[in-house]
């Protein structure tokens, strides 16, 4: 029996979809059978982030409405034979979603896979609820800013009320240069305020933007520090005790000493 984990944040634009694709790929690199499910009905993106948009035939609503079998909707990733995408429907709205039916589909997938990662839409309405309902664990993604952390706190409350117990924190787009200049929240401040267990810090990384625009998952094709962060998150999900990476500041040249920071 596999584990269903919802990736959520409350606020949009903090990197839920990127985290879902990359952590999913890192788990698959460990040999696990993984489905990443796009739960953003009406605004699907996970297919694009994974570069699989041309291979999508059926989607989760086709399963719900009886037009295909679960196995027909799953799209195999290009490089990893044990990583699959369950696409969202683009033609429906979040109000069309029947939470019971989604629950049933995910529980059937869990029987055949080690992990189902549910990429939640932004917000706390029906879309979020149907993404969280099949999950027993959650990864909360925040960026180091006040509004993102505030929204995460709200989501944590909702998840706890719904009986989700294993809630872990991922801090995304962490810029050690800004932290060193004390221009943004430190990771320890965020952990302290939210009272959650940290499972990973992902450094700000331009390679992520580049690979997403190319339709490749960085943790499969890349080598940068953020890839190590994603791999470490996967290992921690697997229960391994991995020390946290020291994220180095950008190296500055001698001339930079004279530049105003």
């Amino acid at each position: 029996m596999g584990r269903a984990i919802v990736i959520t944040s409350g606020k949009g634009g903090v990197g839920k979809t990127t985290v879902t694709a990359n952590v999913g790929a890192s788990l698959a690199k460990l040999g696990k059978k993984v489905v990443v499910a796009d739960m953003d009905i009406g605004l699907r993106n996970l297919d694009v982030v994974m570069g699989l948009e041309n291979r999508v035939v059926y989607n989760i609503m086709d399963i719900v409405e009886g037009r295909c079998k679960i196995s027909q909707a799953l799209v195999r990733e290009k490089h990893l034979s044990n990583l699959f995408l369950l696409p969202a429907s683009q033609m429906h709205t979040k109000e069309d979603v029947d939470i019971e039916a989604i629950n049933e589909i995910i529980s059937i997938i869990k029987e055949n896979f080690d992990y189902v990662l549910l990429d939640s839409p932004a917000g706390i309405e029906n879309g979020f609820r149907s993404a969280a309902a099949p999950a027993t664990e959650a990864l909360i993604v925040v960026t180091p800013d006040v509004s993102s952390v505030r929204d995460a706190d709200r989501v944590v409350g909702l998840l706890e009320n719904n009986g989700i117990e294993g809630i872990s924190l991922i801090i995304n787009r962490y810029d050690p240069n800004l932290v060193a200049k004390r221009k943004t929240l430190d990771k320890d401040d965020i952990i302290d305020v939210l009272g959650l267990d940290l499972i990973g810090v992902i450094p700000e990384d331009k390679e992520i933007i580049d690979s997403e625009n190319r339709g490749e998952i960085l943790s499969i094709v890349g080598k940068s520090l953020s890839v190590q962060s994603f791999d470490n998150i996967a290992k921690r999900i697997e229960g391994e005790d991995v020390p946290f990476l020291e994220i180095p500041k950008e190296k500055r040249g001698f001339l930079d000493l004279f530049r105003r920071k």
């Binding site: 006040v146 409350g157 706890e160 117990e165 004390r182 430190d186 401040d189 305020v193 009272g195 267990d197």
Partner: protein, 80 residues
């Protein structure tokens, strides 16, 4: 603002965040909170002497649970 006395952004951000979360997390409206305070005072006053307005209530979250903490300074023990 003077360059030297300027507070660091991270400190300002954390203070703002803490205040926002106190408001977001408070499950009770101010009037209900006052009723709660009065009731707690009444009950505790049966056993020990407490000041009328000295009670402070804080709602905060730790991992997996929300905690309501009431701090009540005690003046003395009641003699029965």
């Amino acid at each position: 603002m003077s360059w030297f006395s300027r507070k660091h952004t991270d400190e300002i951000a954390k203070e703002r965040l803490k205040l926002i979360l106190v408001q977001d997390r408070s499950l009770l409206s101010p009037s209900v909170l006052n009723e709660l305070k009065e009731d707690i005072l009444k009950v505790i006053n049966r056993y020990v002497e407490v000041g009328e307005s000295d009670i402070s209530i804080d709602i905060r979250r730790e991992t997996h649970k929300t905690i309501l903490e009431a701090v009540v300074p005690v003046k003395g023990v009641k003699k029965s």
